[in-house]
Symmetry: C2
Subunit: 439 residues, 2 copies
Amino acid sequence: MPRDTASIVTRHQPRATSRPAWPPERRLLAWLHRMAGSPSIRLQLWDQSSTGPDQAAYTVTIADRGALYQLLRSPNMAFGDLYASGRITVSGALDEFLIHLYPSLAKGATLQPPWLARLWRDPAREGASEQDARLNIHHHYDLGNSFYRLWLDEAAMQYTCAYYEQPEYSLEQAQLAKLEHVCRKLCLKPGQTVVEAGCGWGGLARYMARYCGVRVKAFNISPEQIRWARERAQQEGVADQVEYIEDDYRNIGSGVRPMTRCDAFVSVGMLEHVGPANYPSLGQAINRVLKPEGIGLIHTIGRNRPAPVNGWIEKRIFPGCHVPGPVELMRLFEQSDFSVLDMENLRLHYARTLRHWRERFLAHREQVRADYDDTFVRAWDLYLAGSVAGFTTGTMQLFQVVFAPAASNRIPHNRHHMYRQSALAAGGKGSEKETAVAS
Amino acid sequence: MPRDTASIVTRHQPRATSRPAWPPERRLLAWLHRMAGSPSIRLQLWDQSSTGPDQAAYTVTIADRGALYQLLRSPNMAFGDLYASGRITVSGALDEFLIHLYPSLAKGATLQPPWLARLWRDPAREGASEQDARLNIHHHYDLGNSFYRLWLDEAAMQYTCAYYEQPEYSLEQAQLAKLEHVCRKLCLKPGQTVVEAGCGWGGLARYMARYCGVRVKAFNISPEQIRWARERAQQEGVADQVEYIEDDYRNIGSGVRPMTRCDAFVSVGMLEHVGPANYPSLGQAINRVLKPEGIGLIHTIGRNRPAPVNGWIEKRIFPGCHVPGPVELMRLFEQSDFSVLDMENLRLHYARTLRHWRERFLAHREQVRADYDDTFVRAWDLYLAGSVAGFTTGTMQLFQVVFAPAASNRIPHNRHHMYRQSALAAGGKGSEKETAVAS
């Protein structure tokens, strides 16, 4: 069982039974409801006393006195842990409940006195050292490939936002369309070379090799993912075109990892683990390795304005995670003398991706329960449902940024090349492509 | 004659004749060449003494001693004034010369000791008051509509970057394509309402009314432009759909100018005159007037990193002009709680637009000389050629940013709607669209 969800259980044993709530506790409950922006949600205590409208679509039940005090002390952190351990329950669909709650929390935050805002604030993350980065990545991505296989797409094991070019796409289709969309943005041509930072299970690298005819060096510090990626590259017959390298992005093109310059640099879903303090190091790595006429793309979760990641997500699910606002994000390119060519926000595509993931995850919940435990299932369900809500309500954004070295004039003339035909039917080989990738 | 180009002549009368350059002056010339990054350009003094390679493709001749000292004191400012008054001449094509020079100047800037960088630095502009804004805009845009008619496109009098969807487009075609591209990004539908800030001669507003069937309130503080725009709206039969309002963007939707909320907000080429200190005021104006499910677009000249505008351009051509880097630009949206949906960089399209403008300007130089004088012709030629060079070498960028209120989910699903068909041939347009509107 992963370290941190195990600690949810051991640290928060509920008291056997709780006596009825005292009047001051009921008043604290009402105050908590107000500080949450007075959502149309009923908060109920262990003795059935409650606050909030009677006709509310959702009821949150707090099972014991200790849970109430934890929630008052640190609501973000406590809600996650208490939900995971079953001491908080929610009636109704969890994702819809959170979609309902999030805008209210934002309103509530404007009502909080400064001392309370400080007390409840999530801790900010500035950037992980190489050592911390390995631990953080291990924590999340080395849960076991078999776990992620249960609910990610079959073809490319993409654990990042898909591209629903057509709203009715399946997850598999949308992930393939995402890979194609990224390749088009990079204007790849056969024979070119690509460096990828943070390659996950290597699906994008294999796709670029097979369908764009390029050679790829793909970096990742998760041993589990690298192992899988290499096996799949062998099976798919692209092992001679794709080199998976177990190393940190900071070493790309450095003294310890010298390499010839590449035509394209791409990083999908890694920046969230980098942290703004390390953006200059990332920019230097790109500058070391990208040709003066090359093109780069960074795909990352973002926000409309900077704010720390939810404390519970950061502690239990994604340690070391930081999600930039557009200003922070642009600073990466300004500092490193890149020219921003294109930026696309795919927020609602991520909401849809996450709904698909959650459906599959819940369909396999018994399997996950058997492999881990009930706390783990509830924690991950909350994480996925919370992410659906974040991208649906606009708390979270998804940015794809295309950039080039400042002096390059070998940049795409316009964006028609991204839209000439459906991303899935590229070159009229839609079905061929699907079968090829699935086989 | 406009105030500031008149002052170029009166302030810088050349000495009648200059004695041969002294040895220290020749050494200063060589030093100036080094501080300009040692370009492959010959600098020559009034007595034929020179520095730089003999085989250089370009020769810059400094006609008198006073000109040399002005150049040493404040090269950006002095070069413009001296070129305009004929005391500096350049052999060869002016735009190609500047394209050659600019990267070298950037290299030179890294060699300058801090005291010199301070001495030569262009002054920063933080933002103009309403009063200053009127004077600044009057200075540039009230030169006379007949002047701009000589070299802008006929159809829509667009004094902003065109969109060369096909590289071979004429200026007229590319300006119409730009208007269509902007309308598509705004997802306009018949019957909607639009607010435009900084409408120039009103071409976009008329286009939106005619081809998208919307009603437009268009703001501008240039009386000359407003007068023209109203006449054209009458002639084109859209005067009942377009209201041109002579007022500052800061008053949009304010107490002095209350108005109902609109479906779209657009501003093309105004932000350069706003200044970062006023970005919050602009954001507030947009927030006052845009519906919660509305869409906005800002089109502006930008840079890869913030730097003051060339001192001569700022003083003689565009007073109060400030060009943001991407970080500054994103701050506008972050501060005002907008979600950035899309950003496109059209830098090379502006280089092409400026080449077309300059060709037309030079074709009418005798007319301009007759209406103004030779100094004015040379000043404007330098401004246009310098802008060609700025956009060609990447000193300048052109950003189009699409945004929406943070909580809106009525945002375009993807960007296919911008590319389904040629922007010029929209709906089999050209003729068909015209008939549709006329009927």
